[in-house]
């Protein structure tokens, strides 16, 4: 009997590899191995041409920590801190905008909801370069928005709202808002409104109702939203590149520079490790929180 069961299990495993194998192999060959090579490069020495050569060393990491030929500089820490801050603030703004939007949608008649949600998502289907370019046109020194800001004395005359940190923040918020709306909507649509009614019967105030009856139910959606917005915003390349100047540089541009304009592959790879460490810490923290709160992922693999 056991042999029959074993044959059956082996047959299933064989068919699993036959169907899923090619795709998995593709991802391993063209992403897992390349990223492994990339991480390995961080431990090599930089050649005069920016490519990695032996011997193995940790020079690139001391360069990341700010030690260079000219002594110590805190520039890298500033860039890292700025990336974390920009991603954090952008995520917070998307939360503040997404909650009213999502609850506006779920209080509409069921037939209207998918259309309203679609309208919130469609802009994210256009190319990121085009979307970001649109903000360049809106915020440049000659645009009406900048004129208003100049008249109000918010920015010095003849300067625009871009390039700079403010423009990067707007660009990130705009780009990733739909990534917050979708998981929040998924949570809000399944909301158990009887809890709210029960709270109302017990004379709970509006704020109390929201934080005790509504908010906990949307928490799993909020946490996945934070992952979906925070992580790509932290590692974004296009937005800071187009809307930020030198003073608004984020980690993504710093990394890309090491592979394009002024090649130094080991240093760039070491910076990448820093980016991945922060990404993984964020991912694991929020996943743990989600599991602790019992948030189901639904039909996920």
């Amino acid at each position: 009997m056991t042999t029959a069961v074993q044959t059956e299990a082996r047959g299933r495993a064989w068919r699993l590899w036959l169907t899923s194998g090619p795709g998995l192999f593709w991802i391993v060959l063209f992403l897992l191995i390349p990223s492994g090579i990339m991480l390995g490069i961080a431990f090599f020495t930089n050649s005069d041409f920016g490519s990695p050569v032996l011997p193995l060393s940790l020079d690139s990491f001391s360069e990341v920590a700010g030690y260079g030929i000219l002594g110590w500089s805190g520039a890298n820490f500033t860039v890292l801190l700025r990336s974390l801050l920009q991603a954090g603030i952008a995520t917070s703004i998307t939360i503040l905008l997404a909650y009213p939007l999502v609850f506006f949608i779920v209080t509409r008649p069921p037939s209207l909801r998918p259309v309203l949600l679609l309208f919130a998502i469609v802009p994210s289907w256009t190319n990121q370069v085009v979307r970001t370019y649109a903000w360049m046109e809106l915020l440049n020194p000659f645009a009406p928005v900048s004129h208003i800001a100049q008249t109000l004395g918010l920015i010095p005359p003849h300067l625009g709202l871009m390039p700079g940190n403010f423009a990067v923040l707007i660009g990130l918020t705009y780009n990733y808002l739909p990534y917050m709306v979708v998981p929040l909507y998924a949570a809000a649509e399944k909301l158990d409104w009887t809890l709210v009614e029960a709270g109302r019967d017990l004379y709970a105030s509006g704020t109390k109702l929201f934080f005790n009856a509504v908010f906990p139910q949307t928490l799993p959606g909020l946490l996945s939203g934070i992952i979906l917005v925070g992580i790509p915003a932290f590692g974004d390349y296009v937005v800071p590149q187009l809307l930020g100047g030198d003073k608004a540089m984020m980690l993504g541009s710093l990394i890309a520079d090491q592979f394009t304009f002024s090649p130094n592959w080991p240093y760039g790879a070491a910076l990448t490790i820093i980016m991945l460490v922060f990404t993984c810490v964020g991912l694991i923290t929020f996943r743990r929180l989600t599991q602790k709160l019992g948030g189901g992922e639904g039909a996920m693999l």
Binding site: L31, L101, Q128, V130, Y174, G206
Partner: protein, 279 residues
């Protein structure tokens, strides 16, 4: 729903309306500026669109973008569908332990969670080494296509998996009881069932390909300038121009067109409330 007081409902509307406006203002600005006055055309005009259609560089970039999107989406859908199908049907019910359970999931989620900059640069380095040592895979449309398939197939796999996960497993047993061999049950049961997911996955893969800039930018070669890369370098070179606005408007219009088309095709097929993907 009725438990929300009128006052709050009005407030929700009052906040949501500006958010919707905010979402569409940048897209509208691009469209409006594309008709704007430029050198030699002092009034509202469509000259930019004419220039665009005559520009051989733009047309070549458009051809490359379409070739890349269609070819990569075809292969990405094939690999992704097989992955989603295999994992939903043949994974052991017990979860499969590490080798059959956790590892495939980890591999599938890798392209989705990896920051696209890290993704692109890893591929840049990899293709660089492969080319250096074997002479194969010089940077161009082929390397871009390989990278695109890598990020498309997991999304297709998730779409197909989600569709099959909601399916009664007894259906497959029923088809076996009716003496359908595995190939027959794949052709006459699985394919019809996953067809909406297949079409959806294919369109999603196309959108992902057209949408992507960062990964394309780092895997592209000198002769493989696609539309997003063309726009990016044009902005860097000469800043805003009505021509770029016209190109942007056309891209926005076609993406919105595909999205609405897909939405209205699938709306009648699936009655369940689906949540469209963000890309």
């Amino acid at each position: 729903m009725s438990t929300i007081p009128r006052k709050i409902q009005h407030a929700l509307f009052g906040i949501s309306l500006p958010v919707y406006l905010l979402l569409y203002t940048p897209l509208a600005v691009i469209a409006i500026f594309s008709f704007g006055p430029s050198l030699g055309h002092p009034t509202v005009n469509v000259a930019a669109y004419g220039l665009l259609l005559q520009d051989p560089e733009v047309m070549a970039a458009l051809r490359r973008s379409l070739t890349l999107a269609l070819c990569s989406a075809a292969l990405g859908t094939l690999l992704g569908t097989l992955m989603g199908f295999g994992l939903s049907r043949f994974r052991p019910a017990t979860g499969g332990g590490f080798w059959l359970g956790t590892l495939p999931s980890l591999i599938i989620y890798l392209p989705i969670i990896m920051p696209s900059l890290v993704f692109g640069i890893s591929e840049l380095i990899f293709f660089n080494f492969v080319h250096e040592y074997t002479g194969l895979l010089s940077a161009g449309l082929l390397t871009m296509g390989i990278a695109h398939v890598t990020f498309q197939s997991p999304y297709v796999a998730l779409v197909v998996y989600a569709r099959l996960a909601g399916l009664d497993p007894n259906l497959f047993e029923a088809s076996q009881d009716l003496y359908a061999n595995p190939i027959k049950s794949f052709l006459f049961l699985t394919i019809p069932v996953v067809r909406p997911a297949l079409i959806g996955g294919f369109l999603l893969a196309i959108t992902l390909s057209i949408d992507d800039f960062t990964i394309s930018f780092f895997t592209a070669g000198p002769g493989s300038v696609t539309l997003p890369i063309y726009i990016y370098s044009a902005i860097a070179r000469k800043g805003a121009s009505p021509e770029i606005n016209a190109l942007g408007s056309l891209m926005i219009a076609s993406v919105i067109g595909i999205a609405l088309l897909y939405y209205f095709i699938t709306r009648h097929r699936e009655r369940s409330t689906r949540i469209p993907a963000v890309a």
